[in-house]
């Protein structure tokens, strides 16, 4: 592979003398009440956060959501929230997910500084489900709220990271005259349920 060898040789030859990696261990932000900050951050990016004391309350909160009540095709990957009627495991082709109204997905972490929730790919039989569904409900434990991205990655690094993503609010664009429009290509709404 000539291209590979030549590129590596040129990069090594032209690189400057080694510069040490800076210490970034002291970076970060601490909030007095991370959950409250999370609610505020999510609101600022167009999402809505619901707090539920326990699983029963979470189930009730989701059942009351207008986007859930009006939904016909529902995916739920959180066994104790919502009543799914589309079985992802039995679905061969992700294209068949087109037309799913609501997806209820488990979130692992919620980040107070930016409203993001980490969704682990291993929990998704089809990756497309988080972006193709018209509306998204993410469920995370309130004790999994971290202050910032440094804390988030420290938690994620504790085990092997595979496919996964941070989702912060609904899909959006401002490409036409900088006017913010919610619901560009992905979910038109994003509700995060913090339980506990």
């Amino acid at each position: 592979m000539a291209a590979r060898e030549e590129m590596l040789a040129a990069l090594r030859h032209n690189a400057p003398r080694e510069v040490p990696l800076p210490d970034s261990s002291r970076l970060g932000v601490q909030f007095p009440d991370p959950v409250r900050q999370y609610v505020e951050s999510l609101r600022s990016v167009g999402g809505a956060c619901l707090l539920a004391a326990d699983r029963a309350a979470a189930q009730r909160a989701v059942a009351d959501l207008p986007v859930y009540r009006g939904a016909r095709r529902i995916v739920s990957l959180v066994p104790w929230v919502g009543q799914g009627n589309v079985d992802l495991a039995a679905l061969a082709d992700p294209h068949d997910l087109e037309g799913v109204d609501v997806a209820v997905l488990p979130g692992e972490l919620a980040v107070a500084e930016n409203g993001a929730v980490w969704v682990d790919g291993r929990s998704l039989p089809h990756r497309a489900v988080f972006v193709i569904a018209e509306h998204l409900v993410l469920v995370a434990e309130a004790r999994q709220v971290v202050n910032d991205m440094h804390e988030a990655y420290a938690r994620l690094a504790a085990r092997e990271v595979g496919y996964g993503l941070f989702i912060s609010g609904p899909s959006k664009t401002a490409d036409i005259e900088q006017a913010l429009v919610i619901g560009a290509q992905g979910a038109r709404s994003c509700t995060v349920l913090l339980v506990g």
Partner: protein
């Protein structure tokens, strides 16, 4: 590569005064959102230091990190390709598509593929390419390049987009509501996503330690394009490498805040290997980057994370528009990168700056943009690429400033002669400075004379 004269292209842009002001204000609004977002982060300056330091370190060991990345990405089932230049990059992408019989490709934003002119290359070979970022789709339908790296259609008014969509997507005549137009694009693009045989994305960050690539979007178009078709091709310049997963925290806290004032993009997707029964191809491109790495001044701009903040803040960019640069990356960073590619074709770009330094102030990775612009000016002079009018003026100024008596004489003459000359002569074509400006009225006495009068002989 065709050359461009920034002053001439900018003159065309500012000829429409109202539009130039509108463009200026639109970008300034984005800049202000960036200010609000960054000032809410208590450790912002420390973050910038860390980002600059991590990039400088990575570039100093780029060969090692590239090999580490390749090893880890391969172990996770991705196929890593190497391309020395644009031609190799395009051939690799086309090879992957044609081997699998793919005729429809959906793309999310990638400045690298713009740099390599991938779209026309694939289209000439019978592949239908759909840019899926809304702004990019708009300019693609107009057969234009993006005018800004983050806001590709910032130069267009909603009425123009309404007319375009009416003609091409069948929306109602005269409709220009952004919500309505975005919904029409959503439906149109949804069909393209469902029909596509492969999805291509750019890469925001490539993590050597894990072999993963990270893609950031707000619309979710990269996610639609990588989760429906079975083949994902991710194209990256070699400078996208960072060492560790934890370094992502530093860059992700800076990127969206600098770009649009958001705390983070809506979707920040980490790809580690292909999905079940799918393929992930990662194409790593040099295309002049290793040569840039050799230059001890200009290598620093390889740290750029393409947030666009330097454009939004630049008084010249805001008032001259992205197309006045004639290069795929415009603004201050583009004016450094472009002459690195072809100094002769882009010799006017380093002069498209007031050297006010605002770009350097907002840069999240602390690139010393205005210093590099100045360094490019010196380089342009050294290579004899300065136009004759500027060369002569500089030479004259050099003489006048070298001798105090000549300086005094020139001032004395100018104050007496210029007011006596007919206006047509003073503002003739040779006075390029005076084309858009009025000379100040000539003072009755010089500072030197004033000082002498008030204080006596020094």
């Amino acid at each position: 590569m065709s050359g461009i004269s920034h002053p001439e292209a900018a003159a065309r842009f500012v000829a429409d005064d109202a539009r130039a002001h509108w463009h200026d204000q639109a970008l300034w609004w984005v800049r202000k959102k960036r200010d609000v977002a960054s000032s809410a982060v208590p450790d912002w300056e420390a973050l910038r230091d860390a980002a600059a330091g991590i990039k400088a370190h990575t570039l100093s060991r780029i060969g090692d990190y590239l090999e580490e990345f390749e090893r880890n990405a391969t172990a996770r089932g991705a196929k890593v390709w190497f391309a020395r230049d644009a031609a190799e990059h395009n051939a690799v992408v086309h090879g992957i598509l044609s081997e699998r019989g793919v005729t429809k490709l959906v793309k999310s934003k990638s400045m690298l593929t713009e740099e390599c002119h991938l779209n026309p290359y694939l289209e000439a070979r019978g592949i239908e390419v759909t840019d899926t970022d809304l702004g990019e789709r708009i300019v693609q339908l107009r057969h234009e390049p993006p005018s800004h790296i983050v806001l590709p259609a910032i130069h267009l008014k909603k009425e123009e987009i309404g007319e375009l969509f009416h003609q091409q997507l069948g929306t109602e005549k005269g409709a220009s509501d952004p919500k309505y137009l975005t919904e029409a694009a959503r439906q149109h693009l949804r069909r393209r996503f469902l029909e596509a045989g492969a999805g291509l994305t750019g890469v925001n960050f490539a993590v050597a330690e894990t072999g993963g690539v990270v893609v950031c979007t707000n619309e979710g178009n990269a996610d639609m394009g990588t989760t429906l078709p079975p083949v994902h091709i991710a194209c990256m310049g070699v400078e996208k490498l960072i060492p560790r997963l934890q370094d992502l925290a530093v860059f992700l806290r800076l990127l969206a805040r600098s770009a649009t004032g958001q705390p983070v993009t809506t979707y920040t997707t980490h790809f580690h290997g292909p999905r079940r029964e799918g393929e992930l191809h990662i194409v790593v491109v040099d295309n002049g980057r290793s040569a840039q790495l050799k230059d001890k001044v200009f290598r620093r701009s390889l740290a750029c994370i393409r947030c666009g903040a330097c454009m939004n803040t630049c008084p010249v960019f805001r008032r001259s528009g992205g197309y006045s640069y004639g290069f795929i990356v415009p603004g201050p960073i583009g004016s450094i990168l472009a002459p690195g590619r072809d100094a002769s074709a882009y010799s006017t770009l380093p002069f498209a700056s007031s050297l006010c330094g605002s770009c350097s102030d907002v840069c999240p990775v602390r690139i010393d943009l205005h210093h590099e612009l100045l360094a490019w000016r010196q380089e342009i002079v050294k290579r004899g690429l300065l136009p004759r009018s500027k060369r002569v003026a500089m030479k004259l100024a050099g003489w006048v400033l070298r001798f105090a008596w000549l300086y005094r004489l020139a001032g004395w003459l100018a104050r007496r002669v210029i007011p006596a000359l007919p206006r047509g002569l003073v503002y003739a074509r040779w006075n390029t400075w005076g084309q858009q400006r009025e000379l100040p009225p000539m003072p009755r006495e010089t500072f030197r004379e004033l000082y002498r009068r008030l204080r006596g002989r020094p």
